[in-house]
Symmetry: C2
Subunit: 426 residues, 2 copies
């Protein structure tokens, strides 16, 4: 049996994209780990449940970070003047190579997991490195953090630095299987493996085929990168002439939705056929606005994806993104959507705060099942924010306080409680 | 005599745009309020000075915020889904009207001034409201904060809500003079008035002419807004048919550099003639990247301004900008410059971190004289950052730590000491 209790406060969530529901001085009921509704007056049948009283505070669903590179956390916010290829060569790859050393991995992933625990994120889809042992260490640390996460041992067998290139597809496949089977033995409650080809340029066709087989055999989800940058899209076109478009190079190997949950980071330069395939196959898009600015990639057409009914959430993409803050990801997404409207497509209405909040919670949370909302039947993830440190000359509405909390990134200083799948983890 | 002392730490500053000088385990000497140089070994003649030891910490110049609206601080981070006109009508103007009440002004400006004191900003150019009494209260609070600031009583006599419209140009001029003369009597050491037409659409020709006369008579600087938004630029073209371009409508009244220091916020849509006039007249540009995103204005051509040799600094533009953090302004400027390169002008190389830091310090500091650098003869403004709370799996270089401090906005949690004009104010 999971936990049952009542959490009082100003309950705020987004049951639909763009629809912000605020219930002031209310309570959300959690029964056996599931939300049972939001009430101003607690129904008789729940009267006996323990009450956690956060009256006056903001209670929001936990955030789902659909794309973050754990090994890159160590150098976040540095090297941001590099262009993409120099950044990979001078920042990303040298750091990732360090994780062949389990001691380094233990130290760095310990720091990462603690910061994730302190953040507003309750669920995350995470890249590791190619190293099986370091990836298992990351899984250990994330399990301890209380977050619910998918952790990917990265697969790479071509066009990468020698120390980040697996010997061949067979060896790369064995490495993935080792992590899958060992992690199963460790009996994690919150941590699961995920198939993780780094991206098409660093994975041979043979490796992709192996990963497709493993995915099917073990019934696992998939994460990768897609159409982030024009040069990368062109490179994939040259490397994979048989693929109709970038995403098709995953789809041909069963690594693009349909059977298993798949999340693709970026989707900035997806051609119309790719957008359509994303929608048809039910692939989740991880929109990563901070990273797309820092690496000068561009701005993803999020309005279009929302109109199409695509599955979409947000990713912090540390360390292309500089912060693990999902609050920042929400406001970044809104801000860049305004520049997209201004410079790229005047038909693409800027995102609103309720849309950004929805992407960060229910939009991305759906990758994990029923998560990211306080609706009946949803797994109970919640963040309680105390914004009383933000002085104000006049009373602000709860709606104003909520928006301000995001723009002021109060997830850095104002979180007083956090629940993931009904367990209190902070 | 001003203060004389030695400050030890990792001394970091940008004597030129793009040139970051880092002197590890060094010290900056302040003598009679002025910087006397950075030394690894303290020269004999300074051997007797008191030493403030911040070894291991980052020591940077104070930031100059060239554009911030004090009355809008109260609602920062709210109403960001409005478009410009709705935002003015529903957020900015209703708040500014509240400052006709001195009690409200006292409370709100007290909060504002405390937050400015806690920030990395040591010098600021500030908009108030049209209210003389509230503006004097703001000056009192800013004087107490220790920051060095120019505070503008805003002038508006047309096309504004009735409660924010002065009766006529004559009355508006009297209101400005009242603040100038009363503030002189109050004997502020750090706080000065500045001529502040809100922007051309809200100031009649008669008012502009009055303000030009007052500026000259009292030898005051000027601040306003310029070419922020395409619709606004078009409106000015219609309202001021005799002006060759938007900025010319200020210049015709002696409110655009030349005689007096002038700072113009935004300059996103300046036509080539306006850019040239900005340069010729020595007008400072206050680049406000956060605001320009939030209000969906666009991105200013900062690379072009730097190449032209224009005077340029950064503004947070609260509450178009959502935060008073100048660290955030630096990284915002870099990020939007990458999108500018991607979408607007592939010849405009993205800004680097040293360029962003220079704009925030010496670039904007020059509006106040010799400020924003630790070079010989500069007024001593400094911020000391303790970044030891940011755990790292491996030692980072001072350069990496400095960049990370900005991207992680450690001005919110890591400032342990702040000096403005050699006085310790935090």
């Amino acid at each position: 049996m999971k936990r049952s209790f009542i959490l009082r406060g100003h309950i705020c969530h987004t049951p639909e994209a763009g629809k912000l529901e605020i219930r002031e001085n209310a309570a959300v009921v959690c029964e056996d780990g599931k939300c049972r509704g939001i009430f101003e007056d607690i129904p008789e049948k729940y009267a006996g449940l323990e009450v956690t009283d956060c009256s006056g505070m903001l209670v929001i669903p936990g955030m789902a970070d659909l794309h973050i590179h754990a090994p890159q956390f160590a150098y976040r916010g540095t090297g941001m003047d590099y262009e993409l290829l120099d950044w990979l060569e001078h920042a990303a790859f040298p750091e990732e190579i360090r994780y062949e050393d389990p001691d380094y991995a233990g130290k760095a992933y310990g720091i990462f997991a603690r910061r994730m625990q302190q953040s507003a994120t309750t669920r995350a889809v995470v890249f590791g490195t190619i190293h099986p042992e370091a990836t298992l260490i990351l899984m250990d640390r994330m399990e301890e953090s209380g977050l619910i996460s998918y952790i990917g041992k990265v697969s790479m067998d071509r066009r990468s630095p020698p120390k980040l290139t697996e010997a061949d597809a067979r060896q790369a496949a064995e490495n993935v299987i080792r992590v899958i089977e060992e992690s199963a033995k460790r009996g994690y409650r919150r941590t699961r493996p995920i198939i993780t080809p780094r991206f098409v340029p660093s994975c041979s066709d043979e490796l992709m085929a192996e990963l497709g087989r493993i995915r099917e055999e073990y019934g696992l989800p998939v994460q990768s990168h897609l159409s982030e940058n024009p040069d990368e899209v062109e490179l994939v076109r040259q490397l994979e002439p048989e693929a109709a478009f970038y995403g098709d190079a995953y789809d041909r190997h069963g690594l693009f939705g349909r059977g298993g949950n798949t999340v693709m980071a970026h989707c900035v330069y997806s051609v119309p056929e790719e957008k359509e395939r994303i929608r048809e196959n039910g692939v989740w898009i991880a929109h990563c606005p901070s990273s797309n600015m820092n690496i000068a990639s561009g701005i993803a057409p999020v309005r279009r994806y929302l109109e199409m009914g695509c599955r979409i959430g947000l990713g912090t993409d540390v360390a292309g993104g500089t912060s693990e803050s999902m609050f920042r990801a929400v406001t970044d997404a809104i801000q860049v959507s305004k520049l997209y409207w201004r410079y790229v497509d005047r038909e693409a209405k800027p995102l609103t705060f309720p849309e950004g909040l929805w992407m960060a919670t229910k939009g991305g949370g759906s990758f994990f099942g029923k998560a990211g909302s306080f609706e009946e039947g949803y797994e109970f993830d919640a963040v309680v924010l105390d914004d009383s440190g933000e002085q104000s000359a006049r009373p602000l509405s709860v709606r104003e306080r909520l928006e301000r909390a995001f723009y002021q990134e109060l997830d850095r200083t104002g979180i007083v409680m956090k629940f993931a799948d009904s367990e209190r983890i902070l």
